[in-house]
Symmetry: C2
């Protein structure tokens, strides 16, 4: 097949690709990750590139304007190569590497309670290492190598009759190893339901065993390296999930994964590669070998977990929304392709249902939600909002589709919480003059989720929008910031010259409606759960918010727009990345792991699509803060 | 590298090989298996071929005579290709395919006792299959596929809290399968120490589960296909172990295996290929798929077991002779490369020591040796003679190196028990006229192990040899059959014209000394065990003989030459291939399998090289029948 040379700018990187390749794939091959929210279907418009030279096949132009087209802007996913080309990938179309939420918290609350939990459950890691010295065999003391070793191991560990399994790969090299090590060896093991599995035998040493806690989010992936003896988080690293190229949300990814058999493998490989990239970085930084990682616990939503294991995710998105498994067995790293000890077991967090996954069970565990009489509400706000309500006696959970607004998706100038993102806004109610707080104090380029919440609260306070989110163009200030365009109404947050670009940074009525739908979905989920168990808002003692977005959230704003229930600020708590913290806890405590499985079983999943309650609640929540103002006494 | 054309005759088959390839490898590539007892070291002389044209590099000629060399005869292993050639591979240098011992017995004794054992242990196969119908999930009955399945399976099988493991390969396709099968599925499982492992899930059907019993002998490999419901041996097949090309005995193979890392893989692949060849044949004949084989039990000596698993066998042959393991865990067929259900477990019979392996434990189990008060002696005669003595209270075992004589090795006209082999001989003591019984009544081409035993007994009776095995050239008959050559003395069993060849078929004094050493080794082993536990020969109630050679043995002859103890013929019994029978028993009965593990642990291995007893016994046994004639009253 013909090969063509494609040059990418400003990198000035040239690669060769075959006839018919899309610019999206070509960029990936050049190591440039172009955003693609719709998975390359030509609908999201995220993958804009500029064709500087060459004459490609145009399969589609989506919502590109004639003006954009005349400037050479094309959709990378729908532009196919049929000759040499030069392409520019503008910054806004690139998936930027930036520090993702690693679990640090603003209020520092969890750091303490987490330590309490480890004390509560007891430190007894899923994997351990034991140094053993054997006597040398003789003609009369001639039991086999494996008998000699296993008998001594049983004696030292006092394992009784528990089965001990030695994988073939370890057994194969046992004789040579024992003799080279002069019968002094370190044995790495994992405790499982079925017994003890030996995962590695090496020359005796005192390197501690390490484990990795892995949070596989739809958007980001975070890895903690944990010393299994001290419990310390030795290192941590996060990045974007490479599956993003197949779509922003789980549904788009499932659709892609089941299209062809090869796709499932491809999308699994993408997340495995993501995790391996993080592991490699950490290992290099800590001067450790992949063989030093003897255990992994993975927490992710149900789709992420199935895709990570390569398990057919098809029925997650088809009614009646059945996941393949809620408790996944543990598999050796070699079967999953992770850069760690090949025989080390990788444990996947149990989930509850197709849309309440292991990340939520991990959060429920790590926030100690189910251990007292107090009723606690746990919310993980992302593309999906997952909500758990309960105490030691009962637990209910649901999921509601909030859409990507809080992560910057579907918002004209939406972006993630990274340098350049507007996170706070102050509006003079008289003049509508604006001052902004931008992350890292940089020039504003867009607005992040917490900025949006703040912005809507301020627009409402200033009378720029009404309770339904409609712009009040006749605002008495007469400010030029408030204006109507051909297809929308908008408010200018930063003028082009302030934003250092060609365009004014604005928020549109459409953006506001999107956020209202998102916050309405979450509030309706909370109300549905409360109704279901006949609990009043006032009876909730604590509301714990997890997830990257929640971490930057202003509680007052959130209540004012009706995202969160109207309770005293003291009852709110941020937990940060509860998923990776729950994974760490399980790594370090077999009891915690058992409790996680118990929690998964105990939680009652409420399918919101059954019955009319949720829809009614949702409709009622499409106001700022709500149609029923009695629910928001502070703002009456 | 230069390639040359090598033509093999009489096949007229032409292949291309690289410069420097040995004729032995070239023949293998041409699909012609040339014998090579020494593993291609140029010492055994088994690989003779005739160079018809071409000018090879001669690396060695071993013990070829000038006459043979002048006829173009070369050692295939030490003849390297440096140009086109034409080669003839004579029949005597070919490893012939012939029916190998499949476990049939002459006296038909075991068929019955085996059934008794199955009744005794209870029929509860290592693998089973269960058909299950599930209710369809709904929005309210929305547990995961795997929960739905495992809960119903637990209910039907009443497994209680036993862990159930589902391999990743099965889990991956579970959702699609359940729906295609309309929730009616057949589940194949294996019971292990650690719980229940699911090995396959398929559309519901009533095909019974099958298992395979595999005897991996150093020389031959035998497979039984067993219906796990009825216990019936549905089919059976045997052939030579393809490892033969790396040497006839375990020591030569170990030496080869540890020479380079690649060799171990090569020699493992050879036996896996052998087993797969048998499986393929049986599956084709029975119109079954490899997926229908849901379990395997393998019995072999310790070296064969380690090589089959690819486990470093190095220390088996080095003092203090330590095997890597005596109980091997079970591994999935996919890890071993067997043509059966990929996740089906392959169980290896436990062994006792480096030279008392799983085949002997299998024999001990299947002969019910350890279940009564009677003292029983079990002997497996092959290249190694393995001996077990005991009853329900105690068991001792040893191994003695008998050498290959009984299998035709190291004997001038030695051959295996196959058509053309002399199996009985009658000598007129006056005239020394000979009449022969040849297998299949064909023209005699050589003499098999049982023929050798008979022959020596007859030569002794006729006064042709004395009790030390020396030829009595001055025999009063004056027969021309008795003669001396330049380097040996010999007796002609068949004249060249009778044998249809160029040479007289003879037995030499050297051959006789070899057999005496072999029988001496075994008898000394028996005596050493008896001494050890202070048991008199008379106290042995039964002597059970296993192995291919034993099956054709004449008891009277064997006692007369001092191979077997002098007891009434009624106390002897043949069991045939006890190894494969023991494998079948374990396949069908979990209790039998547990008993096998128990037997392995219970058996005390006696290392004959420790102390002087064995050497003394051996020296005393180098007479016909023995130096101490009081041990052989029937022949005094
Ligand atoms: S002499 Fe050639 S294989 Fe032994
Ligand atoms: Mg998350
Ligand atoms: Mg055998």
């Amino acid at each position: 097949m013909s090969q063509y040379q494609i040059k990418f700018m400003p990198e000035n990187r040239v690669i060769e690709v075959a006839h018919g390749t899309s610019l999206l794939s070509a960029a990936a091959k050049a190591g440039i990750t172009v955003k693609s929210g719709c998975g390359g279907k030509g609908t999201c418009g995220a993958c804009k590139v500029v064709v500087l030279s060459g004459d490609p096949i145009i399969e589609g132009t989506g919502n590109l304007t004639p003006e954009q087209l005349s400037k050479g802007i094309r959709l990378a996913c729908k532009t196919l190569i049929q000759g040499d080309m030069t392409i520019e990938v503008p910054p806004e179309s690139r998936l930027q590497e930036h520090q993702v939420l690693l679990g640090d918290v603003q209020k520092g609350l969890l750091q303490e309670s987490e330590h309490d939990l480890l004390d509560k459950f007891g430190r007894h890691p899923l994997a351990r290492k034991q140094r053993i010295s054997l006597s040398k065999p003789t003609l009369t003391e001639n039991s086999s190598d494996w008998s000699r070793l296993s008998i001594e191991l049983r004696r030292v560990l006092q394992t009784g009759e528990k089965p001990i399994h030695i994988p073939l790969s370890v057994l194969k090299h046992l004789p040579e190893l024992l003799r080279k090590a002069n019968w002094d060896v370190s044995i790495t093991m994992t405790d499982t339901e079925a017994g003890l599995t030996i995962t590695h035998i090496e020359q005796g040493n005192d390197i501690p065993p390490y484990g990795v806690a892995i949070d596989i989010g739809t958007t980001t992936v975070v890895v903690y390296l944990v010393n299994l003896i001290t419990g310390e988080i030795v290192d941590q690293q996060g990045t974007y999930n490479k599956q993003a190229k197949y779509g922003d949300d789980v549904i788009t990814r499932i659709v892609y994964a089941v299209e062809r058999e090869q796709n499932l493998i491809e999308i699994r490989d993408a997340v495995v590669e993501t995790v391996n990239g993080l592991l490699d970085k950490i290992l290099a930084r800590q001067s450790l070998s992949s063989k030093d990682i003897s255990s992994a616990v993975v927490a992710g939503n149900t789709t992420m977990t199935q895709l990570f294991l390569g398990v057919d995710p098809r029925y997650i998105r088809l009614e009646p929304y059945i996941p393949t498994m809620t408790t996944a067995p543990s598999y050796p790293a070699r079967e999953l392709g992770l850069h760690m000890l090949p025989e080390a077991l990788v444990h996947s967090y149990p989930s509850v249902a197709s849309y309440v996954g292991g990340d939520i069970v991990a959060g429920t565990l790590v926030t100690d939600l189910a251990s007292g009489e107090d009723i606690i509400l746990f919310i993980d706000i992302g593309t999906n909002g997952e909500i758990v309500l309960g105490n030691q006696d009962w637990l209910v959970a649901c999921a509601c589709s909030a859409g990507p607004s809080f992560e910057g998706g579907g918002i004209t100038f939406g972006m993630r919480a990274m340098p350049g993102a507007i996170e706070r806004i102050f509006v003079d109610p008289k003049t509508l003059d604006v001052s902004l707080k931008v992350i890292n104090n940089q020039t504003p380029v867009g607005i992040c989720g917490s900025g949006l919440v703040d912005c809507i609260a301020k627009l409402l306070s200033a009378g720029i929008i009404d309770r339904a989110g409609n712009f009040q163009l006749e605002h008495k200030s007469g400010s030029q910031r408030l204006r109507a365009t051909a297809d929308d109404k908008q408010f200018v947050l930063a003028w082009a010259h302030q934003a250092g670009g060609e365009k004014d940074v604005v928020i549109t009525e459409n953006d506001i409606k999107n956020v209202i739908r998102a916050k309405g979905a979450i509030y309706a989920g909370i109300r549905s759960l409360l109704n279901m168990v006949a609990v009043d808002i006032e009876m909730i003692s604590r509301i714990i918010i997890a997830g990257g977005f929640g971490n930057y959230l202003n509680i007052h704003d959130s209540v004012q727009i009706g995202l969160l229930p109207d309770l005293e600020p003291e009852r709110f708590e941020f937990v940060g990345n509860a998923s990776v913290k729950g994974a760490r806890l399980a790594l370090l405590s077999q009891n915690a792991w058992r409790e996680a499985e118990e929690l998964g079983r105990k939680m009652t999943y409420v399918e919101l699509s059954v019955g009319a309650t949720y829809m009614d609640e949702y409709m009622a929540a499409l106001f700022l803060p709500h149609t029923d103002m009695s629910l928001f006494p502070s703002f009456q």
